[in-house]
């Protein structure tokens, strides 16, 4: 028989635990969300011609202020690393500003600053974003350009950023689900905002949306089954339930599997990567940079948190599966990357391979695995951000020239752009003196220390295959004759220059002096 359902009378009169909120700890998130709401109001009330400058200022300022709030909190006298939103009498916060969350918040804010700079730049070809107006009948919809430009991308980006920050700090699955949607819905829309090649852009938005909604349904069903298993969706309660033996294991395994599918999709890992190349190619390049860098950070932050806090006790059950997923992801990324002829698709497959490397670190389940993965996220984010920044510069009459053949002999036209891009590709390949090498070193050594040597061998093999397609582009840029009607390299505006410089400097710095960032990443683990 059922237990008695609680009547409304009981609920109204029972004392509700009011959560304690450590405002200083969560101030970066609050700043971002308040600014996102302000940004919507700016969109509603300011005249069209003044919106752009106000929105750019507001969004960049938001990221800076949130970063300052984060810095102030980390350096304050308060006990750092245990704050957040806590229900009285419970040790683990519902929404936790612990050290991994703080590190990844900082990473997200820095990366989104760079991505917002790319989004804001309109010195080249008037900017990448358009108001959504359909083409006139009879026009060619593939090459169609919408008139005008719009600024809705800024509030959307801020909401996505806020969602990402909540996503990786949430200690219960329901908050995580809502945050997942708050970060995804703006991204779906941002993909469809390209000013040139609108049809491809909209197509990528539809694909991303349908597959994204599909995967969040999986996440949600996993949530429901785990709720049935543990009687709660809080990560610590699920962990406590896995320690007992009297519960139906089917619910646990099915719930875990479905939940992880949703997370793996967001991180564009392995067999759940199908959307990545299409969406990376179709979306406006600044948005692709934002997605590639920031979404990966948020998704891996959540994967680390869920695996560590909720499923550590049952890790021997699922580890083999995630081994297989990591191998599939690395091999798909490396092998299919070889066959690509489009620059953005190639970087997309590269990101799938990198997601596999990151997963190797994430399933190590040790302190070194955690810090190594977070360091890798920081390093990879900046490199890929700068790489997409460069891609926005190489253009022909139809906008960005992303076909590989168009990049032939680029070094002769524009030595600086070619050498910068070559450096970034070497960083993606993981050559020493770049952040990519240090990231791989940290992740792989953590994995070996945790007894995953065979997986690391596969990872090294995949790195070697992937290095080939990065080198192919370098060879193409330096040792091929430029085509007659090849693309021109635009002079970047101040914003794009700043974003690319930021990415390159961090890539170099983390490659030469990785110690300080590794120290930050290894200050402490999740609160549990």
């Amino acid at each position: 028989m059922f237990q008695a359902t609680l009547g409304s009378q009981d609920v109204a009169q029972s004392a509700v635990n009011i959560p304690e909120i450590d405002w200083q700890a969560i101030s970066p998130v609050v700043v971002v969300f308040v600014a996102a709401c302000l940004s919507v109001l700016v969109e509603a009330f300011l005249p069209r011609e003044r919106r752009w400058s106000v929105q750019v200022t507001l969004s960049l300022l938001t990221v800076v202020v949130a970063g300052l709030a984060l810095g102030l909190y980390v350096n304050s006298d308060a006990v750092v690393g245990t704050g957040g939103i806590t229900v009285a009498g419970q040790a683990v916060p519902l929404f936790s500003a612990d050290y991994p969350a703080l590190f990844l918040w900082g990473t997200l804010l820095a990366l989104s600053f760079g991505a917002l700079l790319l989004i804001a730049d309109r010195s080249v070809d008037g900017g990448a974003f358009a108001s959504p107006v359909p083409p006139a009948p009879g026009g060619d919809p593939v090459q169609y350009q919408a008139p005008g430009r719009q600024t809705e991308v800024f509030p959307l980006a801020l909401f996505a950023l806020g969602g990402m920050m909540v996503f990786l700090a949430a200690n219960d699955l329901l908050t995580m689900f809502v945050a997942l949607e708050v970060l995804s819905l703006p991204l779906y829309l941002m993909c469809g905002l390209a000013r040139r090649r609108r049809l491809i852009s909209q197509e990528s938005a539809v694909k991303y949306f349908l597959l994204g909604a599909f995967s969040s349904a999986f996440f949600l069903y996993g949530l429901a089954l785990l709720y049935g298993y543990a009687g709660s969706v809080r990560l610590v309660d699920i962990a406590a339930a896995t320690a007992g033996t009297d519960r139906p294991e089917t619910l646990l395994y099915a719930g875990f599997g479905l939940l992880v599918v949703g997370l793996l999709f967001k991180a564009s890992i392995g067999p759940f990567h199908a959307w990545t190349p299409d969406v990376y190619q179709g979306a406006p390049t600044p948005v692709t940079a934002f997605m590639a860098a920031c979404t990966k950070v948020a998704a891996f932050g959540a994967i680390l948190r869920v695996l560590t806090l909720a499923f550590e006790a049952s890790s021997w059950e699922w580890r083999g599966v995630l081994w297989a997923v990591a191998i599939v992801s690395m091999l798909i990324g490396a092998v299919l990357g070889l066959t690509q002829t489009d620059m953005k698709r190639m970087i997309a497959y590269s990101s799938i391979a990198h997601a596999g490397f990151l997963l190797v670190g994430a399933i190590a389940m040790t302190e070194d695995g955690l810090s190594g993965t977070m360091f890798y996220l920081l390093a990879y984010g900046f490199t890929t951000l700068a790489a997409f920044g460069i891609i926005t510069l190489v253009r022909d009459g139809n906008g960005e020239a992303t076909h590989l053949s168009q990049w032939a002999g680029l070094a002769k036209r524009s030595p600086l752009v070619a050498v910068t891009f070559a450096f970034l590709l070497l960083a993606l390949a993981g050559i020493p003196m770049t952040s990519g090498f240090m990231g791989k070193l940290a992740v792989f050594s953590a994995a070996i220390a945790d007894g995953m040597a065979p997986l690391v061998v596969v990872a090294l093999l995949a790195s070697a295959i992937a290095a080939f397609f990065y080198l192919r582009v370098i060879v193409l840029m330096y040792f091929s004759e430029p085509a007659q009607d090849g693309p021109t390299v635009s002079v970047p505006g101040a914003f794009t220059t700043a974003a690319i410089t930021l990415g390159v400097v961090v890539t170099l710095l983390l490659g030469v002096l990785p110690a300080f960032a590794l120290d930050w990443a290894s200050v402490g683990g999740f609160v549990s």
């Binding site: 409304s8 609920v11 109204a12 029972s14 509700v16 919507v40 109001l41 969109e43 509603a44 009330f45």
Partner: protein, 121 residues
């Protein structure tokens, strides 16, 4: 125990029997007089409008827009119900939290209103 369901079963049998009987007998005995109105698609007695399909027909975007906005704000308000049930126990904290929630919804509403989402023409 089960006997008390007997009238229900009888009702089902009668209803099914009547449906099968009328559907199968009507074509056999009824007169057939077709006209244009009978062959048209049924649209509440109004002249059917051109079907909005791929390749020509018009899409009533306004209906979609209004419908979408309605769904959004309609469903947001669902959070009021659990709050109303538990308002006593939640006290000032709950009131402030719901206030913040309503403020966020209002900002979205103001945006919609300013951008002309509520204008029919």
């Amino acid at each position: 125990m089960l006997e008390s369901y007997l009238p229900l079963v009888l009702l089902f049998v009668l209803a099914t029997g009547f449906a099968v009987f009328s559907v199968s007998v009507a074509p056999l005995v009824g007169p057939r007089r077709y006209n244009r109105a009978k062959l048209d698609a049924y649209e509440c007695g109004i002249e059917p409008s051109p079907v909005p399909v791929a390749g020509g027909g018009r899409i009533p975007v306004k209906f979609y827009l209004t419908g979408m906005l309605f769904i959004l704000f309609d469903v947001e308000v669902v959070f009021m119900y659990p709050y109303a049930v538990a308002a006593g126990g939640l006290g000032v904290f709950g009131l402030v939290a719901v206030g913040v929630f309503l403020l966020a919804v209002t900002i979205a509403f103001v945006y919609e209103w300013r951008l002309g989402g509520l204008d029919w023409d």
